[in-house]
């Protein structure tokens, strides 16, 4: 009953199988070559490597190697006070560090029964959407970058930098914001922040039009992206595909809608979907999410109060103890379901934290599966289209 689908990739073109079903690749036969893609940032994804076996320019086997970014953060946080977790956990995903902070803080609040003030909820929502925006500003044109369309990447990077300026203003840091902490957030909006952010958003509005013309109405891009790297609908549950990758095959799952958190129930949005499941579909979904995120940020700024408490009182952070318990909290990052399993044992340090990053499944099992039979020139494109982020795989 469980094994309804074919586990192995389609190897009809290269039926080189041993009797036990494993792959029969003899490198000395001179029919095959092994190649490494990575580990030096193969795309805009971060340090990981894909070991591919090619025959001609077609891939017969792929294996993902991670470990270049392993710093053992989960273990480090196990050995630190609850308050010390949030500056440590952010590096588990560099592209969107705020989701780490949010999940860690939310878990601690869940387990110790702290409710945060409304103002802090709004600020968290704003920061998480800004994080999504800056991440998408990288990934959407980054897909073009994998087809040597570098111009969009440069536009995106400039706009992303402007958002980082806003982050710097609000949180005191550009990449690692360390803004969301257990109990609340670390500051109100500075004077004039909304106006400056609105100016940036207007530039992004222009960019949205320009990037459509540059990328999505581009014959070359379409030729390279349509029909390549297809995810089948039934894979979604089999491989644990989440977020835009799942939405690109018509499965509309979005944590913000399904398990609404923070202030998302007060915002008006519908997660965009596509049906084709190829690189173009995923790119389009992300593109439409970019447009939606800009809109969400505008909604948040219009709805959020001007003033309010930013933090609830907590026990003295130097000897904060949380009773034994465990919780799983999740949020929708730009790559999909981003969750954290948090276990406490009654001491002043967590017993276990485990980050569930979407890339864990996307970049390992799914990518290995998708690359078989793909053309060698599409490796980067497929990788980037899954929006993998290696640091969250190995933590």
């Amino acid at each position: 009953m469980s094994n309804l689908f074919n586990w192995n990739p389609d190897r009809s073109k290269y039926p080189l199988m041993k009797e036990d079903g494993s792959l029969d690749v003899d490198l000395s036969s001179q029919k095959f070559t092994k190649l490494w893609v990575g580990p030096n940032h193969p795309g805009v994804t971060g340090n990981m490597a894909v070991e591919i076996t090619v025959s001609g320019d077609e891939i017969v086997h792929a294996k993902t190697h991670v470990g270049y970014l392993h710093r053992g953060f989960e273990k480090l946080i196990e050995r630190r006070l609850f308050i010390q977790g949030f500056p440590t956990c952010i590096r588990m995903c560099v592209a969107e560090p705020d989701y780490n902070e949010y999940l860690l803080s939310k878990s601690i609040e869940d387990l110790s029964g702290i409710e945060i003030p409304e103002m802090a909820e709004w600020l968290r929502t704003l920061v998480l959407e800004m994080a999504r925006l800056q991440s998408l500003l990288r990934t959407v044109p980054g897909q073009g970058g994998t087809f040597s369309l570098g111009l969009g990447v440069q536009w995106g990077m400039y706009l992303r930098d402007l958002i980082l300026d806003r982050f710097e203003e609000l949180t005191g840091g550009r990449i690692y914001h360390m803004y969301i902490l257990p109990g609340g957030v670390r500051g109100l909006l500075p004077d004039g922040f909304k106006e400056r952010l609105e100016e940036n958003l207007q530039l992004i509005d222009e960019f949205i039009i320009k990037i459509k013309k540059l990328m999505f109405d581009n014959a070359v891009f379409k030729k390279r992206a349509i029909g390549v790297g297809v995810i089948k609908k039934e894979w979604v549950d089999q491989f644990g595909i989440v977020g835009p990758n799942a939405r690109s095959v018509g499965i509309s799952r979005d944590i913000r809608k399904d398990y609404s958190y923070l202030k998302y129930q007060e915002l008006d949005f519908e997660p965009p979907t596509a049906t084709d499941g190829d690189i173009f579909a995923r790119s389009t979904v992300r593109y439409r999410e970019l447009i939606q995120t800009v809109d969400l940020i505008r909604q948040i700024m219009a709805k959020m109060p001007e003033k309010g408490d930013i933090k609830s009182p907590t026990p003295n952070v130097l000897h904060w103890k949380i009773p034994k318990g465990e919780t799983y909290t999740r949020s929708e990052s730009s790559r999909g379901e981003y969750g954290m399993y948090y276990v406490t044992d009654g001491s002043d340090k967590p017993r276990r934290i485990n980050l569930r990053g979407p890339s864990y499944n996307h970049a390992m099992t799914l990518l290995e599966h998708m690359l078989v039979n793909a053309n060698i020139s599409d490796v980067h494109a497929i990788m980037v289209s899954l929006q993998t982020c290696p640091p969250e795989i190995e933590r």
């Binding site: 500056p87 949180t171 005191g172 670390r186 540059l214 109405d217 030729k223 130097l318 000897h319």
Partner: protein, 598 residues
Amino acid sequence: MGKLKDILSPFTAWGGVIKDPVTIKNPIGRPAAPRYRGFHKNEVDVCIGCGSCEAICENEAIDLVPVEGIKAKDGDSGLRPMVDYGRCCWCALCVDVCTTGSLTLSDEYTWVSENADEFRYIPGLDKKDWDKNENGWKKPEPNYEFYSLDRVKMPELHAQERGQSFIEFITGYSKQQAELEADRCVECGICTSACPAHMGIPEYIKAIRNNDLEEGLRILYETNPLPEICGRICTHKCESVCTMGHKGDPISIRWLKRYIADQNPSEKYKEILNAENLVDNGKKIAIIGAGPAGLSTAYYLKLMGYQCTIFEKLPEAGGMMRYGIPEYRLPYDQIDKDVNYILSLGVEIKYNVNIGTDITLEDLGKDFDAVFAGTGLHLGRSTRVPGSDNKNVYFATDLLREISLGQEVPLTEKIVVIGGGNVAMDITRSLARLQNIKYGKVDILATCLESEDIMPADREEVVEAREELAIVDPGWGPKEIETENEKIKGLHVVKCLSVFDENKAFNPKFDEENKKFFVADMIVESIGQGMDLSYLSDEFKENLRFSNRGRIEVDDYFQSGIDWLFVGGDIIQGSDVIHGIANGHKAAIGIDNFLMKK
């Protein structure tokens, strides 16, 4: 494929060639945002070296190091944080946790040096270009704290209720309140050095947090055998240096100590403190006076194996704690709890024995291996202003003792107390209660030289006295007590401008023009106490050294000029229970050393 639009549309990007580039030509020197988390700054004069920054740093980037020009003193450890930028991650938790608010981050983020060791420095002391930068990360305001700044309110009886009787009005913390209060402590340990007995304050507060009150009691008895007493009436020098006091209320260290002592039943003390099977080394020590110093000496000597006999002039133990401090602050049964535990170890007290008349000091010297004298300050001092020899002028110490002994004390409807210390407040509030009981109203006024801000009494004493309807009118110097036919009419005072001169010597200055007259038919003087050394014979005194202020000179271990005589407590260090206890402990060590050498 094949749509012409798809081929042409990307070329719209060429529109960009006529636009100005958005890149910044020279990014070096670009100012950071006002909240930027850059290199550290520290106001070293405000910093007290409590080490909270070190405790919260998740990267172990901060060391506390001794620095030149800053010495350890009460309320300042003399250490300052040194940051290692090889480890710092600029999270600014150190700033947010800083108990004094001295530590901030600047907005400087570029710094180049060829020497890696330079990236380890003491902010504020090693001068840096960004020390004067206004911008940078500061702790967010308001309502953003990593601990509670507000003390858990101690439940107490309402002034109207407590003013009617001598029952204890501070009711003590509940478990929940005590744990909340204990949670505020940052465990810096700066309090420990300010405490004369150097009690393990952070440790016993931690024991409360861990709900291990037996451990708490053990920690208390390491340095203080009178925790019930100190938990109520200690002058809590620890609280005045408490690091939490810089931004909020200091921790209620005293009430927490009381909580530990209150929660442990007296019958379990011996078991908890593991005081069975003490050695008896056969040596005998005589102790004069069953006050804090004497009791403390006896307790610590007993633990070491000495036989201790305390000679007490009054019918019950406690000294000034029983006969000087009113019952509403320190109930007698709590004194008994502490004293009885010491007695249960085998310490003996002989009551109603007057050294000098019943038995001489020389005899004690012969009969015992060593003698400790902690005879205290029981004599009142007079202002010696005209009229102070009137029979309706009393000393506070005498009245307090008589109240404790259960004797009838003189009482009238209009009383003036001269003095601004804790004893003055004690007698004021005691007499106010008696007035309430006898006349149904309070009419008592306390006045003193010191102005409100430098009154020696504890602040809460003054506040509580006022709540109990006594008038406190500080800043007046007594001039004359007006009498008529041996009856007191009142007290003439003049404004006191300053109490101490430039050399911090007692030298009050008055504004003779600014006068006041307090109507009264009874006056109580409470301007300090004197010692009664009449038990020392003249011959004996010749062999002792005295300081020019008339105090017996002793060495570090309270040994006097006569080697078998140790002296401590109020007569050496001024009136304070916790000093007495500390003296007693040290004297016990001194006696042990002295007798072991012999």
